[in-house]
Amino acid sequence: MSRVLLRPVPLRPVLLRPVLPSPVLRAEWTKLRTVTGPAWLLAAAVGLTVGISIAAEAATSCPARVTCPVDPVKLSLTGVQVGQAIVAILAVLVVGNEYSTGLIRLTLAAMPKRTQVLGAKAVIVTALVLAVAVVAVAGSVLAGHLILPGHGFTAARGFPVPSLAGGPSLRAAFGAVLYLGLIALMALGITAILRDNAAAIGTVLGVLYLTPIIAAFVSDPHWHDRIERYSPANAGQAILSTTGLKDLPISPWAGLGVLAIWTAVALLAGGLVLRLRDA
């Protein structure tokens, strides 16, 4: 073995130490970084979010002299509907793959402090998802900014033009990034509870997509309101709205708060299951 090969090895931890202070975090980062799946998922999250948003923007127009009850900012964030599934799957795999391969036993042998392991995974997933969400959301909003005014959604007609300059539009974009982060964390917690990829993905996709479908069918106003207010996906997506805020079943930040509570409950329960059960 040559000295050239040996030299960089001790350097890397030194360089990374300020960024990733704890060895648990470093271990989790290495696990995620050295397989190709997460990178593909993150690329897909950006591509699908921006792509679906552009498709929705391109397909919607408001002809002159017609009142369109459309929220252009929410329209330009349509891709979040699909992007959320991808980041959730990433989070599920980060925990679930350890169980399906039996790696979790090795991980816990190396790091017996179990909540720290879950915490490290949560930190890494959150950081990655937030970074990717910023790109995806910014791309979607920028596309809306360029496309929608040409389709009749102009400021002159009273429509808020999607932008990142400030106001409700920036709040919605910022909220969309937080929403994606919270969804990923909730998926992480759910997987820690269920400890199985299949069951966790089924549950997470159910949480994301069932309540909006049920809400579309429910004719009972009480149940409709309950679903809109208390289900993680519906309440959380209130943050994406910029028009008709008075008529929302729940205000944007309160809705995101409901999602945050669900996320916290899922993570706590996941941590508890990890501590109490044999891996």
Partner: protein, 548 residues
């Protein structure tokens, strides 16, 4: 070396060893399926979710009047000849006709007025709503003309020749029949002549632009038509609607409307009873007939007729049509499939189990053992798909029957009128929905074989089945794109749930969220079959090519 001859199991078919192999394979796969506790729990969860979400969230207590709620509000809706619930409210200027005869009129004008801004479920906020005053509007299916009717009671058999606001001359009969005649709007400059000829039970409709040159529009038979019938002039106009789609579905704005028609050159040949024409506001609260439409699209206070010389001016509101499930029909109605929203929840659970049923073979390396025991990969795939499909079908039938049964009585107790359907249709909805779940489970098995990893396969299954449906019903895309999503993706299969057909002669919001699919039930089912078949073929090709 000894040769072991396997004794055929009791499930084995009597004929060839290949068939025997397949039966024991089916048995083996069924044993695998039923002995994994998580999968059984998953299937039970699927059934519970289907019933719970479908029934609990299905509807609300209906209120009518200050004290009456629930069951007391159930409207008495007339039933048409095909067993379907019908609207039969119109202003009828009538006489009796004994035996054969001919009725001819000229229509010179049809004008509608609507009370825009009243009614409507969720008006757009911040936009000025005009009060419920009447203003001229085009109501496409407002109609007036001549009619031959069994009795002057709602729901009785009829045949009519009529002009409409936007759909030209039509011949309509027995609520669901609709034939097109002369196109174009009626006006004083372009009048329309209409004629109905009765010969026994046969009724023939003619139209003409000049009163001399007549064209036959249709000839129909009203089975069991009695000798003495009601004949006369009529006008009616269904609720006016403005439909706006937005995030979260469509909002309907509208209100009742009325149509006023001017008819002259009235000639009735045959044995007519009575000396003069008498007016009757049919269906609008006449004693002994249907109760007035509670939320109705009618304006009975304006319904009337005037006769000056040979010219009749008839004003009516209501409709002569089948009752549909869309908003704006006036009645608080529901369909049997409105209790099936929970099917989506059950579907996700079934998809998860079906996918894991295959991917777990890869994960544990069990597939090598399975294929060593039976090297025919097609048979292994078929056995797995059959077991998953059959389990999903059985769970589906149970969950759907319970959902519809519980939901039906709950809806009636709450005052919702459940639109009646024939037994055959109900069986089609129940068996069809269960078959859709079975096909989707088989699709999930195929995706599991193709993608080999549960995470990817479940995501793939949800992405092709649930996501298109979600994107279509929550109104992210404009209606055109949403409809194509429900034509081309596996979600098209849900069309089998639709129990009340879509009638082109009834204006309402035909949207997936309202239970209306762009494809007919069996066409949608066929699309799903094609997807499942193609996925199974692809899975088989890949299984043959790849090492396990």
């Amino acid at each position: 070396m000894t040769v072991t001859v396997t004794k055929p199991s009791k499930h084995a078919g009597p004929s060839s060893p290949v068939a025997a192999g397949f039966w024991s394979l089916l048995h083996a796969e069924w044993t695998k399926f039923r002995t994994v506790r998580g999968w059984l729990i998953g299937m039970i969860v699927a059934a519970i979710l289907t019933v719970f979400l479908g029934v609990v969230t299905s509807n609300a207590q209906i209120g009518c009047g200050p004290t009456k709620t629930g069951k007391a509000c159930l409207p008495k809706i007339p039933i048409g000849q095909g067993g379907e619930a019908v609207n039969d409210t119109f202003y009828f200027v009538h006489r009796t006709l004994a035996g054969n005869g001919t009725l001819t009129v000229r229509v010179t004008s049809l004008a509608e007025k609507a009370a825009v801004g009243s009614g409507g479920r969720s008006p757009v906020p911040g936009q000025g709503q005009p009060g419920p005053g009447l203003q001229p509007e085009v109501v496409p299916w407002a109609k007036a003309g001549i009619i031959i009717k069994e009795k002057d009671l709602p729901g009785s058999a009829y045949a009519a020749m009529l002009v409409t606001a936007s759909h030209g001359v039509r011949m309509q009969y027995d609520y669901t029949g609709d034939l097109a005649g002369l196109p174009g709007e009626v006006s004083a400059a372009a009048p329309r002549w209409l004629r109905l000829v009765r010969a026994g039970q046969e009724i023939t409709g003619y139209d003409s632009a000049n009163g001399t040159h007549w064209t036959k529009v249709g000839e129909i038979k009203l089975a069991g038509l009695s000798s003495v019938v009601q004949v006369g002039l009529f006008a009616t106009s269904p609720g006016y609607q403005q439909i706006e789609r937005s995030f979260g579905g469509a909002s309907v704005q509208g209100g009742p409307s009325e149509a006023t028609a001017v008819l002259d050159h009235v000639t009735l040949t045959g044995q007519a009873g009575g000396q003069r024409w008498t007016g009757l506001d049919l269906g609008n609260g006449k004693p002994g007939t249907a109760a007035p439409n509670p939320a109705g699209p009618n304006l009975p206070e304006f319904d009337t007729f005037r006769q000056a010389g040979g010219t009749f001016t008839v004003t009516g509101s209501g409709d002569i049509s089948p009752v549909t499930s869309g908003p704006g029909t006036g009645y608080p109605t529901a369909t049997i499939e409105s209790n099936l929203a929970g099917v989506f929840a059950g579907l996700i659970a079934i998809v998860v189990v079906a996918t894991a049923f295959f991917t777990s073979e890869y994960r544990r390396g069990l597939l090598r053992t399975t294929l060593a025991a039976n090297p025919r990969r097609g048979q292994v795939l078929a056995a797995k798909a059959a077991v998953a499909g059959l389990a999903a079908f059985v769970i589906g039938v149970i969950a759907v029957v319970v959902s519809i049964d519980l939901g039906d009585s709950k809806q009636r107790n709450e005052g919702l009128y459940v639109l009646p359907v024939s037994l055959l249709t109900e069986v089609r909805v129940i068996v069809g929905t269960a078959a859709v779940l079975a096909l989707m489970a088989m699709l999930a098995v195929a995706l599991g074989a193709i993608l080999r990893r549960s995470a990817a396969a479940i995501t793939g299954a949800v992405a092709v089945i649930v996501l298109p449906f979600l994107l279509a019903v929550i109104g992210v895309f404009p209606p055109g794109i949403s409809e194509w999503l429900l034509r081309l993706t596996p979600a098209a299969g849900f069309a089998i749930e639709q129990s009340i057909p879509q009638y082109s002669q009834v204006s309402t919001t035909y949207s997936a969220a309202g239970g209306n699919y762009p494809l007919p039930p069996w066409a949608g089912f066929a699309v799903l079959c094609a997807w499942t078949g193609a996925s199974l073929v692809l899975a088989l090709i890949l299984m043959r090519r790849r090492d396990a």
